[in-house]
């Protein structure tokens, strides 16, 4: 029986055994396999958390956009009941007694939505938690930005044309935007940034609120009016294009400053 050419005292015992070095090799390969599986699981969950954080941030940005559309529409509908103008930096208006109740209805929608930020934050948190958990997160998502719509309430003194005429003061009759007040048609700067974790594997996702309007539109006012409008644009409450939506901030773009 010819001998194995590579056999020597290190690979074969006196009785011809190769078992020990081979078991050692198998053990090493088994250890490599365990490490490989562990690494692959980590990569997979990192991919899942990347997806979960992106979808969470996008969902929250869409919720913010939904509220902005709702507010903008509601204050646009107020125009049907209120004739408003800006006089020397002060807003005054007039309305008929028959439209008073309708105006109060729209205004209550506005005030209740904006006047209860804790409820809105709770709603946003529940949306983020639902989406994150449904996408594989095991921990509660952590917001990295403050939830703030950046809107400023404006008071209007309204003369109700009843007999005798009465004057009513509405402290939050409409809202103006605080982002880029000197620009006519800017994009909102509202951002959504969330950290989502599966155990110790975490990822950050970012999205932004986006106004889906042609940038060359003459009528577009950035979704909401501003404090810097000329007098002729302070007649009525500008309701143009409540078309807020959301966009995901691409992961690669963050490093290049694209889509921030």
């Amino acid at each position: 029986m010819p001998r194995w050419p590579t056999m020597n005292k290190w690979t074969m015992t006196q009785r011809g055994q190769l078992m020990l070095p081979m078991i050692a090799l198998l053990f090493l390969f088994g250890m490599f396999l365990v490490l490989y599986v562990s690494w692959a699981r980590h990569v997979y969950w990192q991919m899942r958390m990347d997806a979960a954080s992106d979808l969470t941030a996008l969902s929250v940005a869409r919720e913010e956009a939904r509220v902005l559309n709702y507010l903008d529409s509601a204050q646009g509908m107020e125009n049907a009941t209120l004739l408003k103008a800006g006089l020397f930096g002060h807003d005054v208006g007039t309305m008929l007694p028959v439209t008073e109740a309708l105006f109060e209805g729209w205004n209550t929608l506005l005030v209740r939505t904006m006047g209860n930020p804790i409820a809105e934050k709770a709603l946003v948190m529940s949306i983020a938690t639902t989406v994150a958990r449904a996408n594989g997160a095991t921990l509660i998502p952590i917001p990295r930005t403050n939830i703030d719509f950046m809107l400023k309430p404006h008071a209007v003194d309204v003369v109700v044309l009843s007999w005798p005429p009465t004057v009513r003061h509405f402290s939050s009759a409409y809202f103006t935007r605080l982002w880029f007040p000197k620009k006519t048609n800017p994009q909102p700067i509202l951002r959504s940034w969330w950290t989502v974790c599966h155990g110790t594997i975490c990822s950050d996702g970012r999205a932004r609120v986006w106004l889906d309007v042609d940038p060359h539109s003459i009528l577009s006012n950035g979704g909401f009016p501003t404090d810097e409008l000329p007098w002729y644009r302070r007649v009525g409450i500008e309701p143009f294009y409540p078309q807020f939506s959301a966009r995901r901030v691409p992961r690669v773009g963050r490093f290049l400053g694209i889509g921030q």
Binding site: L25, F29, V43, Y44, M47, L58, T130, P242, A246
Partner: protein
């Protein structure tokens, strides 16, 4: 009746048998992970596409099927299972959540021999794009509203 060479041969055969089993496990796991990652990419992209409100369910399914049946790993179209639409449940109804489920049944192979579950599925959930204007108004976008199209 045996000699040293005979025993070494038996041990070498046993070693290579065990080694080839481990190698097969590693290759199978790699392929399984590659399939899962492809399904996850498809589910995420499908969720982003459908929830944007610009694509119908049929369009999203067509795009996902094309993606899954091309490139590497190339999946058998007979084994692909797709669900594109609204997520079920009261919370999902209130939040207008979309759900995209991308599943794959691996046909044949050692899966069936050792009775492993050949079905793999990845799911992504996201809120649908908001309505433009207020919900009670008939105009405005997006083109595909939640639970439509």
């Amino acid at each position: 009746m045996r000699n040293n060479g005979g025993q070494a041969l038996i041990e070498t055969v046993a070693f290579f048998l065990a080694f080839s089993i481990l190698l097969t496990v590693m290759c199978s796991f790699t392929k399984w992970m590659a399939i899962r990652e492809k399904l996850l990419c498809a589910a995420k992209e499908g969720a982003l596409l459908y929830s944007s409100g610009t694509q119908t369910r049929a369009d999203v399914k067509a795009v996902l099927t094309r993606y899954l049946t091309h490139g590497s790993p190339e999946l058998d179209p007979k084994g692909i299972r797709l669900y594109v639409g609204a997520k079920a449940g009261l919370i999902a109804y209130g939040g207008e959540f979309d759900q995209i489920r991308v599943g794959y049944v691996r046909p044949g192979g050692y899966y069936s021999i050792i009775r492993l579950d050949p079905f793999v599925e990845e799911t992504c959930v996201v809120k649908h794009a908001p309505r433009y204007y207020a919900p009670f108004q008939p105009w405005g976008g997006p083109a595909i509203l939640w639970n439509h199209g």
